[in-house]
Symmetry: C2
Subunit: 327 residues, 2 copies
Amino acid sequence: MKLSRKGELPLLEKIRKRLSRKTRAVLTGIGDDAAVLRPGRRGKLLASTDMMLEGVHFDLGLVTPRQLGFKLLSVNVSDIYAMGGRPAFALLGIAVPGDTDEKFIEKFLDGVEEACNRYKVSVVGGDVSSSKKGMAFSATLIGYVEKPLKRSGARAGHGIYVTGTLGESACGLELLKRIAHHVEFETPVEMPLKWRFMEPLLRRHLMPDARRPGAWSKRASALIDVSDGLLIDLTRLCAESNAGARIYAGRIPLSKELIAVSMALGRDPLGFALSGGEDYELLFTVPGESRIRGATRVGEITASGMSIVHEDGTERAFGPEGYQHFK
Amino acid sequence: MKLSRKGELPLLEKIRKRLSRKTRAVLTGIGDDAAVLRPGRRGKLLASTDMMLEGVHFDLGLVTPRQLGFKLLSVNVSDIYAMGGRPAFALLGIAVPGDTDEKFIEKFLDGVEEACNRYKVSVVGGDVSSSKKGMAFSATLIGYVEKPLKRSGARAGHGIYVTGTLGESACGLELLKRIAHHVEFETPVEMPLKWRFMEPLLRRHLMPDARRPGAWSKRASALIDVSDGLLIDLTRLCAESNAGARIYAGRIPLSKELIAVSMALGRDPLGFALSGGEDYELLFTVPGESRIRGATRVGEITASGMSIVHEDGTERAFGPEGYQHFK
């Protein structure tokens, strides 16, 4: 049934029933003018917000509503993790056209719920509205932190590390577009690719997990999540730290799936890893030399200038080559 | 200059410079993955979010960017006041098409800044994005409260009060549309109205002030702000309180400006006052009989049923006849 036949009140009631959770910290959840929350006994508060817009952040032909709901929470939780914090509460903004089917919202809420369970987050409020054209979602995450890990603590000589592997989300999106194109024009898919190579890349793009900081966070001097691409996010970290960086192309962690799919698409896997956004891995710096479980050392902080050393030994300067809105 | 020529980074930098304010409570503001905030020593946290969408909540032909920015903050601050709280921090979401002029954003930020000064709110974070079509804004307000005033505390016999006067915002919008129509079709304006009657109504719609609860808040049993209309918001308060209400048409506070303009428009002022939204007055209940400075007693809480007593003495039931999205 279309939302326009029922009005917003039944939708608000549904969200309240499904997502409102009384915990010790949620004194008043969805259903009043504002949520009432218990502040942590020790520690500080974290707050972050992100929007997702149709046609800009997602294309309804390439993503399911459940994936959308999950991703909306994940990208915001990632910002809380990127401060070394613990997510606790979420406020949602949902604006969709009146002819949106109720089932779409059901599945969107499935995804939100799945993410809330995974990250132990309670939805405590939000706003539901009709939109004239296109969907717009927003989420605000509130969390706690004892000792915030900012972008600004990196100093010359500190090692630069990144968790997991990079470039998969951007490559997954490219793959998804290529598949959609094949389906639309009924051309045979000519990519010699096995599903087990494609699946992790598609999943990374459609339902990314936020990375919780590991034991290394106690020693980290600066931290940011890779949301817009390694080069742009490293540039941001260095700008806040008043420092530079040198990274090594040969050390950027690439998965075998990324390499296989990039080759099949005729694209450079390193390009995805350096400039592709939405991986939501953590990029951090640590004083001294050390091996860190679950993370790869990709370079070191310098006094100034941003550069990358290629495998043939040549060193080239780089700017913030990631995704920028309005460009 | 169009935003698309500069990218999002200069815009983010501008917002940071203009709106970021270091206070004792803002440990890290705009510019990191999340804001770091000091929790209140005593008291609880409040959090609330609202969206404003082009074509749904505003029409760029009828509102200036400065008014938009001011109103975005005001409507969210109103939710914090409606819990008996004190606003402290704001997170903004700004999504506009790439061909939006930089000056538009400048003026939008003027309005945000004006509201931040008025309500003593610090912008601590946000998200800036391009949109494909139409503008979308969101704000999340975080505040403090010692003793939250919820919607659920009203009991049979408590008096129902409302601050200020009602219906002005809706009547102001109607007036604005009528003027725009006259201008568009170059028909002479035939409304025999003086500017001093029109101005307060237009202002109420375009740049509404959030009402801070008065000394009465210590005695209030339930509180909500009138954002969608008296009848719908009173219905919400009663639903949460498991109670009913009887109000008296003759006691609804109407300004002389509302009466004059409604008559010129050929509309019923009481209709605006009962079902018009966006007045952002406070609607509250208080045990016992008493006069309250700055507020009018409009009826009383009953055991069940919602009804209005007209001036001829007839009593009629009413439902939630306010603005509902998707309907």
